[in-house]
Amino acid sequence: MANKQMTEDDFIAELRDGMTIGIGGWGSRRKPMSLVRAIVRSGVKDLTIVAYGGPEIGILAATGQMKKAVYGFVSLDSIPLEPQFRVARQTGTIEAVEYDEGAFYLGLLAASHRVPFYPTRAGLGSDMTTMNPDLRTVRSPYPGPDGGEGEELVAIPAFELDLALIHMNRADAAGNGQFLGPDLFFDDLFAMAADRTVMSCERVVPTENLLDEGSFHTLRIQRIFVDGVIEAPLGAHFTECPPDYDRDESFQKLYAATAKDPDAWKAFKATYLDAPTHDDYLKAVDAR
């Protein structure tokens, strides 16, 4: 099996302006934050970020690198609305395409299955279409429940991704990933929906040790969908990554406070986001 381990510098070298990047996890849970900081360091711009959004959306809005966000929601969980995202929305600095949470899943699924859309009732009658004037409906080719005309449904377009970033608890060097927490979220679909997938993980282990900590049900990322593996202990910090660690709530509060204070944001970015390596970041967090 090919060894797909790579460095953060290798990863940065792949990044291009204008990319559409899907980011796994959910809210402030198991987000590939070391890779998000690598994006910040790279300086690439005009990005489209596709996510069940958390701090990555807020951070890349605040750095000005994200042109457009496609999301099911943007939340820090214990802080219900992502504060930097709130600022970006209220000042109109980003283009925003918001989907019903379940409909968002179908956009990932459609891209994973290489079909142009999946149909759903979700969105009919709501203002989801206000945010997305390009959204189309489709009429079922089959008779409706009364035997009459087919039902009209919303066609959620495939979220085709140039790159997907996910963070797992464990992985092997070949790209098999393992989640040990309560929920995989949609990380398998992000990996399938993307041309390339880079997976960070808490620890790279030999393939023969993948069943040491969880049953085979936890082996939900297959190496055929993964192109690069980066070992990044505490790589999801400050988001939670159970059972390895909980959310760092005090650090999250520190981040959240930057939305109300441009000087605090500058200091936060300089101290944490601009740290030259993941190890430097961890040292800065420890020194806090």
Binding site: D100, A103, G125, S126, E151, D183
Partner: protein
């Protein structure tokens, strides 16, 4: 008699008659009311730990290590599958709600560049068009019970009439519970009607706190009060008394 306890009972009553579906209340009083309904008169609903499993015992709120009897696994993807299957009754909040039950939790102002960004659409569009939905509004006022919502997260009956059959066939806004009363849409044009008012509240108070004309029945019922057993269960489900903080006294 405490208003917050009455609200929890009114919320629990929304789930009366439910069986073999996911009782999925969101927010403090809704979670307590849902778990209370399951522990008493709606034992055949299932409820979550708000993370990823269904538990048979009514979990106490704010006690993460409480013993639990897990009966099934429901990661987020499964929750969406359940939404689309229809076997769910959700209770959501509403920053704004109007006479036809249109709900806004998304934004104040123009959704494209809001004056105030709120939570967003979240799962409301999919919930409303797939299964029964109820709402909890702890601060009944002309700012929450509005003539017209700024953004439609969860569509109400007028929007669903525009969608028409067969797309609207699973739409069912059941009840709105506020700190003042309980409301339904059981009227010829599905506009909001007083179902009951909480003990100590007057019809006039409710009308004054509502920006649109409510349908007022000839005989206005009073929301029932909790039994002794229910009060004990509320203490068990909410050991920190969090529901008192959600209802203005």
């Amino acid at each position: 008699m405490n208003r917050a306890d009455i609200c929890v009972i009114a919320i629990a009553e929304c789930f009366r008659g439910d069986a073999d579906l996911l009782c999925n209340p969101i927010g403090i009083c809704p979670i307590i009311g849902g778990r209370l309904a399951k522990a008493t008169f709606a034992p055949d609903v299932v409820t979550t730990d708000a993370v990823s499993v269904l538990t048979t015992n009514p979990l106490p709120l704010g006690v993460p290590d409480a013993p639990r009897q897990t009966e099934s696994y429901v990661p987020y993807r499964t929750i969406f599958d359940i939404v689309w299957s229809g076997k769910r009754h959700v209770m959501m909040g509403a920053t704004q709600i109007d006479r036809f039950g249109n709900q806004n939790i998304a934004a104040i102002g123009d959704f494209r560049q809001p004056k105030v960004q709120l939570l967003g659409l979240r799962g409301a569009p999919g919930n409303l068009i797939n299964h029964r939905t109820s709402y909890w509004v702890p601060n009944h006022s002309e700012r929450s019970f509005v003539e017209q919502v700024d953004v439609v997260s969860g569509p109400g009956y007028d929007r669903m009439r525009e969608v028409g059959a067969p797309g609207n066939r699973f739409h069912d806004v059941h009840r709105v519970v506020s700190n003042l009363g309980v409301f339904s849409f059981e009227t010829p044009d599905n506009s909001m009607k007083i179902h009951s008012i909480h003990p100590g509240v007057t019809v006039e108070e409710v009308v004054d706190a509502t920006a649109f004309d409510l349908v007022i029945p000839d005989e206005v019922a009073e929301t029932r009060t909790p039994t002794g057993e229910e009060l004990e269960l509320i203490e068990v489900i909410d050991p920190h008394g969090l529901h008192h903080g959600e209802v203005p006294s």
